[in-house]
Symmetry: C2
Subunit: 200 residues, 2 copies
């Protein structure tokens, strides 16, 4: 937006444009849309931004995002704590929960190994995973990272550290399209991939 636009609108458009997948044209449209919203709705939106950032943090056990100390899944007595599904991000937990078929718990790594980009094991929540398994009670760890180079490398790396601890380590079945993104898989495919997991 050029100088002739009201400055607060220019600033808002720049904020929108800084978000992933939103270009300057869309950002301008969104800024103008905000102008047409009720004042209350805009204030609610602003509060939602701050709330999400300040009230949400990582679960002490599984590292998934939550507003409590322990997330509802880790806190659920009916979940099978002997089975841990390891995923890249909180989005992947949502994807598995939508299948309504998985009864175990999760561990969110918050990334995948990618030494070229400087993402080494210490940048992930790998240590927390090893500690959980080391504490005992875990029978199987399912490496449910994306079927990509980084996802496979992360699964292999984790398997190498986990197996000496005496747990079974499995990998999601390649029912998923290779090179695809886990988050976009449909519920049935995802469940099949879970059911046909291969032991490593």
């Amino acid at each position: 937006m050029a100088d002739h636009n009201a400055l607060p609108l220019v600033i808002l458009a720049e904020k929108f444009a800084s978000l992933p997948g939103i270009g300057m044209k869309s950002a301008q449209r969104l800024a103008y849309h905000v102008m047409s919203m009720d004042k209350e709705a805009v204030e609610d939106f602003a509060q939602a931004l701050v709330d999400a950032k300040t009230r949400v943090h990582c679960c002490k056990i599984c590292q998934n995002l939550t507003e409590r100390d322990i997330c509802p899944i880790c806190d659920d007595e009916e979940r099978d704590r002997s089975l841990i599904c390891v995923v890249e991000s909180p989005k992947d937990v949502s994807a598995f929960e939508r299948t309504h078929e998985y009864g175990g718990v999760y561990h969110v790594l918050h990334g995948l190994l990618s030494p070229m980009d400087g993402i080494t094991p210490d940048k992930l929540r790998m240590r927390e995973l090893l500690e959980r398994v080391d504490e005992g009670g875990v029978e199987e760890v399912i490496m449910a990272t994306n079927p990509t180079v980084e996802g496979d490398a992360t699964a292999m790396y984790a398997a190498g550290l986990l197996k000496p601890l005496g747990v079974k380590v499995s990998r999601l079945a390649f029912g998923l399209p290779v090179g695809g993104i886990l988050e976009y898989a449909d519920e049935v495919t995802l469940y099949k991939a879970l059911e046909n997991r291969n032991y490593m």
Copy 2:
């Protein structure tokens, strides 16, 4: 997002999804992205939302969005006040300003006539336009609404009211692709359309 997600994240995703052109999947991604931003950046974003809504309003003269009483264009002594370019929305003012070729002033209608959708002349800033012209000093009004059914109808309607006031009324040349959206025209096309305007 389902129940297992942290509530503030669910709320934030819903806010993003309420914006035009953002689906639930994108909204979730944006909400997660906010989690990865600095606390300060999130607070700035929230403030930008509220600022845009509370500090920006319509210019008393041209009805364009501004944070002052009179917008910088209406306030610019070098602009030709005898020439008014009438547009649908503030986005269109930005489009014309990007041509760096237009030296007149603007009038923003904040919509187009569409009786089927209940948008009658009293819902637009039509009265304000007639008052401006009636005050004198205006020689020509360029109807620069989109070359669509609603844009043409609005231009025709305005022309019918403006011509009795003794001003020339012109319409943008149909150098614009018919049925197209003004906002997406490139600078040269837009300037050609302005230059070749037809008197009504």
